[in-house]
Subunit: 186 residues, 2 copies
């Protein structure tokens, strides 16, 4: 089950390394981006992880929804990993506007392993196709949820946002999904 | 089968992106490190990927073998990926000395997904243990070999080095394994 291994890999090789440092990164960011501090709500100091059921991943969020704008990157984290010296781990900050024009900052990104699931479903030699893919995305989501809920280092530092693609025809589908989660926290 | 998915992830999310750019990165590196040019043999312009059968991965190669020294990093590649803007991909260059004291430069690193295999085998909730791990490393190696041999973008730009841990008591086991592959090319 590919999704099971990818969820563990995402936790062991990424979230477990970066989530404990997230609070400090955001604090450092606010120190160098003073005008942005008011846009970070209390609940926004988490990494928002987008999980689209159809594994359709964009490389730039503003391509999906014009209520979303790239703002800047959080400071780099450099970690020696498996022979690569100072491998760089970072997150991007986006500003999301609600329907009243109010702006919210957040560190948000897609769950990268879904790119692997998507690409594997396109490669005949990888052994699974589009029909299994949705199932695998759900398995990835539930496995990851389970791992993170039991992780002391990651607790309260993330939010998994499962995106049901049924409303993709709404041009503000993504910003609304993000805002629902951000506003929930306040 | 976890190893199957991790091999595909390693190819689709990393090698397919970075190997086509490797030649240019090494050329740029030699331009800024003029004294190093004589240390790059003809066969050394490939990424050497270390695959230890016991999945025992170091973060710094010189910790394994004092005939190996960290030299510098290749220039950064920045790619927008899944919402992270300018995600950084780079390789580390090490200088490896043979028994006559002759030095060779090479871009070398461990296959990072093996860290996931190792860590999963330590986590009871991940569903596999140490006995299965060696089997999974072999499956990772054969799957990756198969994928790469059929990849036009990656052809001739890498070398997979399977490390049998039976000679780990030799303090120069790693440098000798690397040199065997480097000298093969000349
Ligand atoms: N958003 C995001 N930002 C990151 O910096 C990052 N680093 C890892 N990951 C994801 O976490 C998981 C574990 O990573 P690991 O390093 O074991 O495997 C990685 C690793 O073996 C290799 N790889 C990817 N990027 C690099 C890199 N910059 N340097 C070396 N190896 C890399 O290719 C595998 C797949 O990468 P992704 O498909 O991008 O997703 C990974 C993976 O799902 C990241 N996700």
């Amino acid at each position: 089950n590919v999704a099971h291994g990818l969820a563990w890999s995402f936790y062991l090789g990424y979230l477990r390394l970066v989530l404990p440092r997230l609070e400090d990164s955001i604090t450092a960011f606010c120190a160098t981006h003073q005008s942005s501090t008011s846009f970070w709500g209390r609940g926004n100091r988490k990494l928002l992880i987008l999980i689209p059921l159809n594994a359709n991943i964009s490389h730039k969020l503003e391509d999906e929804d014009d209520s979303i704008r790239f703002y800047d990157n959080l400071p780099n984290n450099e970690i020696d990993r498996a022979g690569v010296r100072g491998r760089v781990y970072k997150h991007s900050v986006y500003r999301v506007q609600d329907e009243d024009g109010k702006g919210y900052n957040c560190a948000v990104e897609y769950a990268t392993p879904l790119l692997t699931l998507y690409n594997m479903s396109q490669e005949s030699r990888a052994g699974f196709g589009e029909p299994e893919r949705r199932q695998q995305v759900l398995l990835f989501y539930t496995t990851l949820q389970d791992i993170l809920e039991n992780s002391l280092e990651c607790r309260n530092r993330y939010k998994l946002i499962l995106l049901n693609d049924e409303h993709e025809d709404d041009p503000h589908f993504l910003s609304k999904a993000i805002l629902r989660h951000l506003q929930q926290q306040e």
